[in-house]
């Protein structure tokens, strides 16, 4: 395996308030007629980052990417790349290259000609072009395919040609639109790691647009979750998953059980929430910015809950509820239990299958207790 990457783990410029961002998107809005595709988005992206824009279809992520490439002009706002205002610069004058979702390889040119296309536009000497093309073909492991036409390549090979072509001009910023979208699952997983490796070895800043949250989690240093043209949350993958800032993010990333409750105790070191849906109190072991009697939401991931036949010791008379196993999905590495609580609310709890072929596993129609730790869930006010 490759050496542990230095960039992703040890340097996090976004945590340093003095760091200068490489790409600055300031209050960018894009309207198509009456439709607002991107609404007042501000975003800082730092050098050598692998930033993922994650969102469903119509969330505005692709429009934002196209504005960075210069194919669309913002209705208002500015885009700065490496300290220069790029808002109205033509695509062919930007230090930015893009890898297209459809790859957009020129069908009448072979692999070498495709990769050399951008270099020729810079009037690079022929010998240098040939050397650079050979270097890129080696990078994407396609040395023997230089003379082939795109239609003679497999999907994965085409994807690599598209990547090599986008990297050829050594762009300061590489934009990738659903780079792995057209590949099958197995190939996608392999390519994900390869993409990260290439990004780290070259130190180019990547901005990746994807709708696949697993892909975003694997690739990104930071993720920007987009919803209806706005950024819902920006953060490192763990922040986004473990500490979602809103109901939307909690539901969009992974799966979450969401319940409504009323604040009954609001102390600096803990909060108690009464939830009729859960049929018990929720004791949260840290202070929350809320007021007594406020109605709010509490979200918890399936793997943060526990099912058992015996009633566990509930902390502070809370965080334990009772229900009946309604359905089980056996996924091999773990099982997913759907438990119907007395209130009729259904919660999903996952349990790792650590015992091989466990004969004593919890099964259908059993009455079980569901419990969780006092810091396992997220209190959400929006």
């Amino acid at each position: 395996m490759a050496k542990k990457p230095q960039l992703a783990v040890d340097t996090r410029p976004w945590r340093d308030p003095k760091a200068k961002p490489f790409v600055r998107i300031r209050n960018v809005t894009k309207k198509f007629g009456d439709v607002t595709a991107v609404n007042d988005v501000s975003l800082d992206i730092y050098k050598s980052e692998l930033f993922c824009l994650l969102g469903g279809s119509g969330s505005g992520k692709s429009t934002l990417l196209r504005m960075l490439a210069g194919f669309e002009q913002p209705t208002s706002g500015t885009i700065e790349i490496d300290g220069q205002d790029m808002t109205h610069v033509e695509p062919y004058n930007r230090p930015v290259n893009m890898m297209f979702q459809s790859y957009a390889l020129f069908p009448h040119m072979n692999v070498e000609q495709n990769i050399a296309y951008g270099l020729k536009r810079d009037h690079m000497p022929k010998a240098e072009i040939a050397a650079r093309v050979a270097e890129l073909l080696a990078l994407v492991k396609l040395q023997d395919y230089g003379k082939r036409k795109p239609h003679q390549l497999s999907g994965g090979q085409r994807q690599r040609v598209a990547l090599a072509r986008a990297l050829a001009k050594r762009p300061k910023l590489l934009l990738l639109d659903e780079p792995l979208g057209a590949l099958d699952k197995k190939l996608r997983e392999e390519t994900q790691f390869e993409l990260v490796k290439i990004q780290e070895s070259l130190g180019v800043t990547f901005i990746v647009v994807t709708h696949d949250q697993e892909e975003a989690m694997t690739l990104a240093t930071r993720i920007g979750v987009m919803n209806q043209g706005e950024i819902a949350m920006i953060g490192e993958p763990t922040d986004i998953y473990e500490f979602p800032n809103s109901k939307f993010v909690a539901n969009f990333i992974g799966s979450a059980n969401m319940v409504e409750g009323v604040v009954t105790e609001d102390e600096p070191d803990h909060v108690r929430i009464r939830s009729a849906e859960l049929g018990c109190d929720i004791y949260v072991g840290h202070g929350v910015d809320c007021a007594p009697d406020q109605i709010l939401w509490w979200a918890i991931r399936p793997e943060k809950m526990h099912v058992s036949r015996d009633k566990p010791e509930g902390q502070f008379g809370a965080n334990v509820t009772k229900g009946m196993v309604e359905d089980i999905a056996y996924l091999g590495d773990m099982s997913l239990y759907q438990v119907a609580l007395d209130s009729g609310k259904r919660v999903r709890v996952s349990q790792t299958n650590s015992i091989r072929g466990n004969p004593d596993a919890i099964t259908w129609d059993e009455v079980v207790y569901v419990s969780w730790a006092d810091n396992a869930g997220s209190v959400l006010t929006v």
């Binding site: 695509p91 290259n97 009448h108 296309y117 536009r121 072509r165």
Partner: protein, 317 residues
């Protein structure tokens, strides 16, 4: 979770009598696929190949007075059947300068007209292909609209524009410009051919251009190509099939064009279509006219075949 045993549904059975008929026909070698193929083959045989052979036959006869106005190929004389083939018509085509000059002149006029049509038609096709869905159908309709009036009428209407006291000259007179001589010149013939055949150029160009993925142009711009470079390196090579198809559709009928040169052209406009007309109707020399037609076929077909071979070779690469 229990899995219920679902009854397996038998595949639907086809009607029995039809089955039997089909099997019997198949035994004789008649299948549905063959019937579909036979119809167009039969059509081409009756309405294309047979008439062509008749024309070829006439081209090997000699002119004579009477009805029909050419000699019979087969004659029976004293119990022997004689086949008489006259090659004189073909020999005459090469020895008489008129014919060679007419062929060359036709090819020249058709080629120049094709290039002009391409230069005018390409931007139009490009604009239509890149316009919004709503406009695209309206614009395409406008391209096809001239076909709703008679071709003859449209060409004749052009004379109203170009003649001495026509619309154009009257307009120029408003600015005190001397009237231009346009009618009965090669210029008028070019105008006529370009005007008439423009839709045949635009439609195939449009179909190739509309299929081109916009992201290819974006990729080219993204890699640093200005719009002109993108056009030369990406758009133009990828629209080559449309250019070839459109040029063929204009060039081939333009070579044999008769109506346009006779209505708009002058006595100096030499085209093979007019020569053929004169041979046929003025001189009533059917065999000579047939030979002219056969030679024209060779003149047109050979370059097309060469071109097609070149094209398929490019595709295979």
């Amino acid at each position: 979770m229990t899995t219920a045993h679902e009854p397996t549904i038998p595949p639907p059975r086809r009607l029995r009598p039809w089955n039997a008929v089909e099997r019997r026909l198949a035994r004789v070698g008649i299948t549905g696929r063959m019937l579909v193929l036979v119809a167009p083959v039969l059509w081409l045989l009756v309405f294309f190949l047979v008439p062509l052979l008749v024309v070829f036959g006439i081209s090997l006869a000699t002119k004579q007075f009477g009805r029909p106005p050419y000699s019979a190929l087969l004659s029976t004389e004293e119990g022997t059947v004689q086949l008489t083939l006259h090659l004189s018509n073909y020999i005459r085509l090469f020895t008489d300068n008129l014919y060679v000059a007419a062929y060359l002149s036709s090819i020249r006029i058709a080629a120049i007209a094709t290039i002009i049509t391409l230069i005018i038609g390409y931007p139009m096709a490009y604009a239509i292909a890149r316009s919004s869905d709503r406009w695209r159908n309206i614009l395409l309709m406008l391209v096809i609209l001239p076909f709703f009036t008679s071709f003859l009428l449209r060409v004749y209407a052009l004379t109203g524009f170009m003649r001495g006291n026509g619309v154009i000259n009257q307009f120029l007179a408003l600015f005190g410009i001397e009237p231009l001589v346009m009618m009965q010149t090669d210029f008028a013939v070019y105008v006529g051919i370009v005007y008439t055949y423009l839709p045949f150029m635009i439609l195939p160009l449009y179909t190739t251009l509309v299929k081109l993925d916009v992201s290819l142009f974006e990729a080219s711009a993204d890699l640093g190509a200005r719009p002109a470079r993108t056009f030369l390196s990406v758009t133009l090579p990828l629209s080559m099939p449309g250019i070839i198809a459109g040029s063929m559709l204009v060039f081939i009928p333009a070579i044999g064009e008769f109506v346009i040169p006779s209505l708009l052209g002058g006595p100096g406009t030499l085209m093979i279509g007019r020569v053929l007309w004169d041979e046929f109707f003025t001189n009533t020399n059917w065999p000579r006219a047939a030979a002219v037609a056969m030679a024209m076929l060779v003149v047109v077909v050979v370059p097309i075949m060469l071109l097609q071979r070149a094209q398929s070779a490019v595709v295979e690469k």
